[in-house]
Subunit: 327 residues, 2 copies
């Protein structure tokens, strides 16, 4: 059994816990939290919650630590630090800062003899892996990534920060017209507005001007101003009833040409339709924890990403079974 620690227990931590329970070769050792462990309720029986202050005393008891904090402030600190003491996996998703994060983790992981696999999940993660392989196979072509339909927590948070907003949920929706054009091999040049639509469900506080809130949302730079945005005002009951799940998904599509005169077109498409974004992301993290456990046993160290991992390391099947049943 591969012994797993979970550092941070929000939506993603709960997703990782469920994925461990559904994996035959994994066992949970401990969940580490910044909160008082006594106040943290978990969904399984047993004494599994400890303070993050005690994390280093578990060095010999944990094979891989899965980091479930946020990309803005938690992971830039935690992943390099914990790579000094554990094999670690994270889902760091601030694309622009990935090279720096990789370098910070690499240095500490190499010095301590551990592996730190960063930025896995679905994007970055599965989508990145597919983008890399698609481009390798069809070098003459373009790839397109669409997100949704799904809840963007960052955009939901941005709406909540507007004065007069009690709660909100924002769905990112890819536009069918754009997807179909890509699928048909038309290699379109698409603007931000042409690719995705943003639909917002907002609960307003009493007495606030709804038109003003709507206008503030639609004109918010970076988040909404470059998109077609639809705003619905609903009651708190309706939000709780119809918008409390965290579905997501998306598409990576590459359209490319082959032939001595580039006369043939091909379309490769990878898509995800997820009922629960954090549970799927947690499942990906757990598979990569398996991979780095094995690669560490083989003597590897340093920072890694999905680009470094051969598929056999992710699978619970033996190589013989893979040859016989999966190839």
């Amino acid at each position: 059994m591969i012994k797993i620690g979970i550092c941070g227990y929000g939506n993603l931590g709960r997703g990782v816990l469920a994925a461990i329970k559904n994996s035959k070769d994994m066992e949970l050792v401990k969940i580490f939290t910044r909160r008082d462990p006594k106040t943290v309720k978990i969904e399984i029986e047993g004494d599994y919650v400890a303070s993050i202050d005690d994390i280093l005393s578990y060095q010999d008891k944990i094979d891989v630590m899965i980091l479930c904090g946020g990309s803005r402030t938690d992971l830039p600190e935690q992943t390099p630090y914990l790579a000094k003491y554990f094999n670690v996996v994270d889902s760091f998703d601030t694309h622009a800062n990935i090279p720096t994060h990789f370098k910070n983790v690499d240095e500490n992981a190499k010095n301590s003899g551990h592996i730190g696999l960063i930025s896995t999940g679905w994007d970055p993660g599965m989508f990145s892996l597919n983008r890399a392989i698609m481009e390798a196979i069809l070098p003459v072509g373009n790839d397109y990534t669409f997100w949704g339909k799904g809840v963007s927590q960052g955009h939901s948070d941005a709406i909540r920060r507007i004065e007069g907003v009690l709660d909100a949920r924002q769905y990112t929706i890819p536009k069918d017209e754009a997807i179909n054009s890509v699928r048909n091999g038309e290699n379109p040049t698409l603007t931000t507005r042409q690719k995705h639509l943003r639909e917002c469900f907002v609960v307003a506080k009493e007495g606030y001007d709804l038109d003003k809130i709507e206008s503030q949302i639609k004109n918010m730079p970076n988040y909404f101003s470059d998109y077609d945005t639809i705003v619905h005002f609903i009651s708190m009951e309706e939000l709780t009833k119809n918008h409390s799940k965290l579905p997501h998904g998306g598409f990576v599509i590459r359209s490319g040409k082959t032939g001595l005169n580039l006369e043939n077109n091909h379309v490769i498409e990878y898509s995800l339709k997820l009922d629960s974004n954090p549970e799927f992301t947690g499942s990906v993290l757990v598979s990569y924890a398996r991979a780095i456990y094995r690669l560490h046993k083989e003597g590897n160290k340093g920072a890694m990403t999905v680009f470094d991992i051969a598929p056999k390391y992710l699978s619970t099947l033996s190589y013989e079974e893979l040859l016989k049943h999966t190839l």
Copy 2:
């Protein structure tokens, strides 16, 4: 530049040639044929065709030999034999014999210090890689593979062997109803007949009984008797005009559950829509040739499959570029 040899020059060999021409880091050294080299016309300028009898004299001039023979008689002999002298890649696709083929190649490749990567292309190949990763991420679930719409050369050949048939083209067509059920997460149990339809375009010789030919096709064991089969009799002109391309494609879909009570469903889908089956397969072979060239330089040897190859080895991008642009 990675120096490539092509062994066997049919449809697949031509697809590999085009893929080499579209790859910036590859150059063709020689095409080896069993025919008299003078009789083999190729689509590029230059002295590129040699007899297969001279292949061993190219040991120092070729980094990777891409084998483009058939799986029935060529590859079971050629891949193990040539692995004694070259790094080799093949598209061996007789699923039941893959473990034996792997073993034969492994022994010779290990002894000679080469790598022999077998059974790549799209199925086996890209579909296998996706099946393995999907199952690792969603262990509680089912995967489904659908082929088509596309030309099955094996089924077309089977029709041509019927007395009174001049030529034929068979399309394998996945049934929308089955695909939609899988996409909706219904986890159906599907019979052979429920998954695919077979549509045949047949040119009959004059004076033969068309009803008899149609009945012989529809009742042919293994090939057609388990399927709904549609037969159209057409003229040779129509066959040449409308059915001379080799399109293909298909879908791998995994539907799986997560959550402590398996309460959430997820659907992962990988699909291909290919104008030219041999050119796409050739493009995959060339990417894997790049990978084993690099892995051989790192000191690896023996038989491999897509399960052994980390994505970074397939890509022409540097690791820094992958982190920056692709992750």
